[in-house]
Amino acid sequence: MESGETVGDMLARRGFSRRGLLKFAIAMTSSLALPPSLAPVMAENLAMARRQSVIWLSFQECTGCLETLLRTENPTIAGLIFDFISLDYQEALMAASGSAAELTLRQAVAANAGKYLLAIDGSVPVKDGGVYSLTGGRANVDMLQEFAPDAAAILAIGTCAAYGGIPKAFPNPTGAVGVEDVISDQPIVNIPGCPPIPEVLSGVLVYFVSFGRLPELDDRKRPLAYFGTTIHDQCYRKPFYDQGKFAKSFDDEGARLGWCLFELGCKGPTTHNACASLKWNDGTSFPIESGHGCLGCSEPDFWDQEGGFYTSLAGGTGPSWRGAEIAAASGVALGAVAAIAARRKVPGA
């Protein structure tokens, strides 16, 4: 893209009309739960914007978050986001490698200092100087601390980057933490999920490019438009929950009738995400619709939740039977001691 060219100019060069841009903006305002009247404003702002520089650093991750973004089926509308951003550095996608890659990174940072969005996927191991995840021999925690200060904002993409994710699961041998545990003096938006819904990332990027700031966030720094409600709030099986119709085991009669999966461990009521409304794979389905309860993957520490994925929210982890036996025996012993001590005081006994 020619320097100085706006997004509008670039789209026009490729034969994409302003009408198309308006349609995109209408779809985005609906997705972001913004008033429809903002769509023309968003379209105009996008047209006038320069492409937003995004520097993507991958830390201790499985690459699932990147894959989910790339695998969106719809070519034009979702893919359009790549026209609004300039992905100046991303190790899995770019051609350069080795020392050429390092040079690319430094040039991108220098050229866009103060203006780039720093996208992070993967957790940040901090134990033993962060030696458990290195890029080009350099600890990820050091890279984060070097490149965060010059970023306009930081996007922590996926539960690993947001909260530590699977590397942080007990016993957390690498000392993995989320981005917000390392950086405290920069605007951060968490886009959790294992993986996150790709439209959420596009929505946040479009909002930032259109309005120059991050959208409204909740107390866990998640965009309210997508994480303001729980899966349970939007779930199409909620009527069954209300009527007390629960599947008791996988593939039983109730399960086949599409009854609520609460008793099979569904964490929908305590999980904030847009899965039940946006769904996955361009609206194909989501876990509950496919017959499996929600794992709670956009919440912190979901891997370590009490009782695991299949213990319902009504239950948890109680003591072992052995522990209860010991408690009972100890109680009897204490009672016996108390009774004997009292015996001395009973006259005539």
Binding site: Q305, S312, A314, G315, G316, G318, G323, A324, A327
Partner: protein, 219 residues
């Protein structure tokens, strides 16, 4: 660790262990007390004495007619509350689920509408009992901190349970945590205050019936 994961994990474990230990402590501590030796001969055989003890548990459920004007309202309110709680605890789907997860047994639940109605009655009875305790001239004199604290520690699970199942006020996760924590608080307090009547009322009536039978006194 969030409040909810604490409530579903260490909180649950600690509360159950303390409750088990405490209940065994108190029951053992009472039953192992030495009793005054009764030198008179027993008027009834052991079998009949034991039967009388068991029967007395049930015959004492209704006060004698003579006392109805005086204790009737309190007893009636109390039964509404206790039966209501029993229905919620053993008829509500999430509670049956907990029993299933612990003991492996379950039974059909009651419709949610029934539970909602019963919850309302239970809560009303509980509040009415407090009002009675605060306004009745004799109860006012007799009431101690234990009475009020025990009331509160029963009120909180009922109240949080109603709010949680209503799903209108507050976040589900927060209400669930509060409900679990209030139940755990009740479990921890149960063996040590007047709430221990859950076991002692039956023990007390049983021993009374047994002793009366031993003396040949009809009850």
């Amino acid at each position: 660790m969030t409040l909810l994961s604490f409530a579903r994990g260490p909180g649950m474990q600690g509360a159950v262990l303390i409750m088990v230990l405490g209940m065994f402590w108190r029951l053992a501590g009472i039953f192992l007390l030495r009793r005054r030796v009764a030198h008179a001969a027993a008027r009834n055989k052991l079998g009949l004495r034991l039967l009388s003890g068991a029967v007395t548990v049930f015959t004492r459920t209704i006060p004698r007619r003579r006392f109805w004007p005086r204790v009737g309202p309190g007893v009636a309110l109390s039964y509404v509350f206790h039966f209501g709680l029993f229905i919620i605890l053993f008829g509500g789907a999430p509670h049956i689920l907990v029993f299933y997860e612990i003991f492996g047994v379950s039974w059909p639940d009651l419709p949610k509408g029934v539970i909602v109605a019963v919850s309302g009655l239970t809560l009303a009875a509980l509040i009415a009992l407090l009002v009675r305790r605060l306004t009745h001239p004799v109860l006012k004199l007799l009431s101690t901190a234990d009475d009020f604290f025990s009331w509160l520690i029963v009120f909180l699970p009922v109240m949080t349970g109603i709010l949680l199942s209503g799903e209108t006020v507050g976040a589900y996760g927060t209400l669930l945590a509060l409900h679990l924590l209030s139940v755990e608080a009740l479990m921890i307090w149960l063996p040590f205050g007047k709430l221990m009547h859950v076991a002692l009322v039956f023990a007390g009536r049983g021993v009374l019936g047994y002793n009366f039978s031993r003396k040949g006194a009809a009850t």
